[in-house]
Subunit: 162 residues, 2 copies
DNA sequence: TATTGTTATACTCTATAACTATA
DNA sequence: TATAGTTATAGAGTATAACAATA
């Protein structure tokens, strides 16, 4: 396709910047609440939420967590170290694969997650869903979920020219 | 009427997480390109873009830039220092208000901006507008622009807690 | 050999508080 | 007194590369 050199039009630019601005402001607001109430960064919250809400067992492998939440393995090791030191997760050698490490949320981790969630919800509602109706939320989710899938399947590596 | 204690429903949660995930992945992809091509961080790109594209004069005051782009004044001083050292902006005492500082983009700054923009566009199109149609982009912008306005209507970050 | 995860390290970014100067 | 901006500083987070252990 020859549109590689075509600039984004005004509508696309507007959508792009609105998306980035809203997400940035929202993350900033949410991070403050997480820090105040649970002494958590957003990444740490993501990790706890994934273990405590998304995973039926409360456990997941390091690599899967890294792929889902963080952009490098050493970054995850760092964050997991903090969470473990705080007693919110445990790390144990994986059963099937001796190289792997299984991360599990602890009771204390679930407690912190439960303590943080109501205020978190309140911030998100105040920032986002004061302006967006229920059907707006549905439209937004329907628009962005496929984008996320596309991004996760085709890494940004594709944008790097040789 | 949103109950303060009611958790977000599944649709709202989906919209929230999709928004945060997409913006995070997109920012990551875009930052890589900006770093590779122009040796710029995303914040630095925002500053240059605001001066070079949004402002007719190519100049703006520090406080206005801080409110628009960065979350603390010292953060902006740091970033402006880097950009100035790189020759991409200049800082000069403001004419009307001797306390103020006027930031202006230089020719070199415009050159870098111009050099970075095509690849930037390419990444955004590949990540975002491969999945979103033209009308999708319009819907997204229409949904999120009011959200941004609402978020920005809160007290500016530069005026907080002094 | 490839993959999992950790470590060592270096660097970027951000925020808070104290400070100077102008209004 | 209040505001604009800088500085000093400290802390959090991230990525890269080298490494050990297992597949």
């Amino acid at each position: 396709m020859a549109d590689e050199l075509t600039p984004l039009d005004a509508t696309q630019l507007g959508a792009y910047f609105a998306l980035m601005d809203v997400a940035g402001l929202l993350r900033h607001a949410v991070e403050q609440q997480l820090r105040d109430v649970g002494d958590l960064s957003y990444v740490q919250f993501q990790l706890l939420a994934r273990l405590g809400l998304n995973s039926p067992t409360g456990s997941e492998r390091m690599t899967d967590l890294a792929d889902a939440v963080v952009y490098s393995r050493s970054g995850l090791t760092y964050q997991a170290g903090l969470l473990e030191k705080a007693g919110l997760i445990t790390r144990a050698p994986s059963a099937e694969d001796e190289r792997g490490v299984t991360v599990s949320i602890t009771e204390a981790g679930r407690e912190v997650l439960g303590r943080v969630l109501p205020g978190h919800t309140e911030v998100v509602r105040g920032q986002l869903f004061t302006t967006l109706s229920q059907s707006d939320a549905g439209v937004l989710a329907d628009l962005l979920s496929p984008v996320r899938d596309h991004m996760r399947s085709a890494p940004p590596r594709s944008a790097r020219r040789r």
